[in-house]
């Protein structure tokens, strides 16, 4: 164990010196050192690579980080790319939660169709980066802080109250849960009316989009 730690430390120092000589940028340097450190920690503790909790935590970290980048990045194009990363993370979560068909739908519909629409519009309008965020000042800020604290307390309370619930065992489900067959069976029996109404909604949306976006004729 100590041998591994020492080896990792020497490796980090060596890579630090190499990157310092090669890359003058400070953020690149910090990122590389952090990444090498994380890799060294994993190399020492490689058992973690086998646990689903580690992978779920990693995906959650990437999801939160990409969502933050969507909100704070001034360039809309970069926001779209980070939103696609976020959608892929949620599709992976669906796979963990035994919703295989929804994971496929998430990638095809969201990342494949809706995001292409967003990319198309941003490219078409050729937007420039925003000047600044709409951060209100004065009493608004304190109200927002109060509401945020209340929200966090409520969420903590709600999640804490559930702490006696049992664990979810990934192997303990009947086969077919979350499959296309099961979802289709439900859609075409119990939820048939809602399904047909969804088709009406889609065609109304399509016609509405054409009418709103087209030029005036004549």
């Amino acid at each position: 164990m100590t041998i591994h730690l020492l080896l990792g430390l020497v490796l980090i120092l060596f890579v630090f010196a190499a990157v310092r000589a090669l890359a003058p940028s400070r953020t690149l340097l910090a990122g590389t050192v952090l990444g090498i450190g994380a890799l060294a920690l994993l190399a020492v503790n490689y058992q973690a690579l086998l646990s689903p909790e580690f992978w779920a935590g990693l995906i959650g970290f990437v999801a939160i980080l990409s969502a933050l980048m969507v909100v704070i990045h001034p360039n809309p194009m970069v926001s779209i790319l980070f939103l696609i990363v976020n959608l892929f993370c949620i599709a992976l979560f669906y796979l963990i939660l035994r919703a295989e068909f929804l994971a496929v739908l998430q990638i095809i519909i969201y990342a494949g169709a809706i995001m292409v629409l967003f990319v198309f519009v941003v490219m078409l309008l050729n937007l420039k980066a925003e000047e600044g965020l709409r951060l209100g000042g004065g009493p608004q800020r304190w109200g927002a802080l109060l509401l945020a604290v209340v929200f966090v307390l409520l969420m903590f309370h709600a999640l804490h109250d559930r702490s006696d619930q049992p664990y979810v065992e990934p192997g303990a489900f009947e086969s077919g849960f979350g499959s296309a067959r099961a979802l289709g069976g439900l859609l075409f029996s119990r939820y048939l009316v809602a399904f047909e109404a969804a088709s009406l909604l889609l065609i109304a949306g399509m016609v509405g989009a054409v009418v709103v976006a087209k030029r005036k004729v004549g």
Binding site: A63, I109, L124, L133, L187, G208
Partner: protein
């Protein structure tokens, strides 16, 4: 693995999307933040569906995806119409109908 983990991630994503709707000026980015919030709710639906061993949550996610697709199409059409008239997508400049 605990269901609470996914609920927590969903709550955080929803809060981030909500903050984005409130603080951004660009109408397209506001639409993207709405998509973020819809996805957070979908994640919560799927987590509860697994806990309760019921596929009804999956049906809800399916319909939320349908509504999100229609909403994105209409919203982007409105953004294009706005840009054609005003040469901007800033929501501060589109305040004709605001009280």
């Amino acid at each position: 693995m605990r269901v609470e983990f996914f609920l927590l991630i969903g709550a955080l994503l929803f809060a981030i999307g909500c903050a984005g709707v409130l603080i951004r000026r660009n109408a397209i980015v506001i639409l993207m933040c709405i998509e973020l919030m819809l996805n957070a709710v979908n994640l919560t639906f799927v987590a509860f569906a697994l806990e309760n061993q019921s596929m009804t949550g999956h049906i809800f996610v399916f319909f939320v995806m349908t509504v999100a697709a229609a909403e994105a199409a209409i919203g982007l059409a409105i953004v294009i119409a706005l840009f054609r008239r005003r040469r901007t997508t800033d929501v501060e400049d589109a305040s004709l109908m605001r009280w």
